[in-house]
Amino acid sequence: MNIVVCVKQVPDTAGERKLRADDARLDREAADGLINELDEYAIEEALLLKEAHGGEVTVLTMGPDKATESIRKALSMGADKAVHLVDDALAGSDALATSYALAQVLRSIGFDLVVVGAESTDARMGAMAAMLAERLGVPQLSLASKVEIDGSTIRIHRQSEDGYQVVEGALPAVIGVVEKINEPRYPSFKGIMAAKKKPVQTMSLADAGIEPSLVGLANAATEVVDFADRPPRQAGTIVKDEGDGGVKAAEFLAAQKFI
């Protein structure tokens, strides 16, 4: 089975994240980049499926040169090879453009199964599995907390607001995984050494058949009008419980008319 796992490099959520003053793009140079943590679950699931059903795992990343750090990490976890879509014209692409660009690469490299994370910690769109499935015309099996493949049938548990649904489709398909699904492995020393020799193919817009007029900041379908650091929250009142903490909390709730 030819499994492609989509991995995004994002700024560290523990560090400071900023939009650039001139064009309101995420300042990716200023922040430390690492793998979007939810994508580690997608990589793990891809590796587990390969171990169970055979085949090959390809990492697909769209992002600047710097994203190679995340690609190496994914390879060191055990993925076999990687495709890095990198082109200056892609900078500032929104969800519509990103899904288009990724879909074009997926069409050109081919796949039986695409695995994506539930959402990225920076954009938080949470819609990539749906958008890719729509573009590629294949089943969308997302918000999965469990995945089973049986021949060409794939069955998942899809998390919903009131429990879960069992959802079934046929390969080829796109799956999106939530963090309940597995426990991502740590790269071993051997894995890290092996990753250095694994093939990483870079692709440009032209290589993937991507129309330059459909990607990048200037062609985005959405725009940031303005942005501002949120004024620091007014420091709250913090009291130490001296045997009256519950009473004090009740007074606060009453003053705010909650009780």
């Binding site: 939009l19 769109m125 958008m131 729509e134 998390q159 959802v167 725009e223 009008v225 130490k240 519950g246």
Partner: protein, 321 residues
Amino acid sequence: MSEVVVLAEHAGGAVKKVTFELLTLARQFGDPVVAWAGEGAEEAQPRLAEYGAAKVYVADGDGFTGYVTAPAAELLAQLVERTSPAAVLLAATGQNKEVAGRLAVKINSGVLADAVGLAAQDGKIIAEQSIFGGATTVHSAVKQGTPVITVRPNSVAPEPAQGAAALEPVQITLSEAAKGAKITERVVQERGERPELAEAAIVVSGGRGVGSAEGFDLIEKLADSLGAAVGASRAVTDAGWYPHKFQVGQTGQTVSPQLYMAIGISGAIQHRAGMQTSKTIVAVNKDPEAPIFELADFGVVGDLFQVVPQLLEEIGKRSGS
């Protein structure tokens, strides 16, 4: 005036409050109309009229309950084609963010997720979003196609307005592609009598500090005394003390209530991602260094097993008098 399409959130005819919030927001941009997928539109009609819906486009049949997200996206895409609305608004649930994504691809429009407010400015719809764990507030607009926007529940107080809510059946033939992911079974975990987490005006959440599944009785009692929904941190759902569907955070639900109470929760970034737009935040934690206190409007540094029972007693006294 153009129409503004609101996708109704409902459970078999019972309309969820967020639908009225979306109708309230929609009014400023045009005539609010409802897209109703599935059964129950007749039952819901009077309530939708109360909140100013001019029309209710109804598409029912198995297709809308039997498959994942694609049918709702096809319904909305056909309405967009037919009536060229000023925007399509959806509640920002995990499921609807996916519907919005598919719709945006179908109609080649920009999509904005997780708005916490909408306003009109120079003929454009401006969405307010809170990003980077609440550190930055952004105003965004769609500049291509019909804006598709998901809005968090509790972003606005629903205001009644008169509307005809005329029911208008629409015939939708689902494409084969929309039937690719078939729902074969539904497993519903009971919620009991409490309000729904995403919609509740008050949420009381417990974390690892609660100590055990039994400890959650205390959280439930506090929630019930306030008419609140119960939430939990991932540490709790991972330990199996409370079901996952109550998880608040990056990989659980995003809530934005009037009051959020974090009891025995440290306030990890992934938890904050799901609750930081709450209007008022109260925390109880025995560690004065817990990051949750950075967000709290009111915090008690203390043992929750002392503080919460006393708080319950006080609430009892006050509601008794």
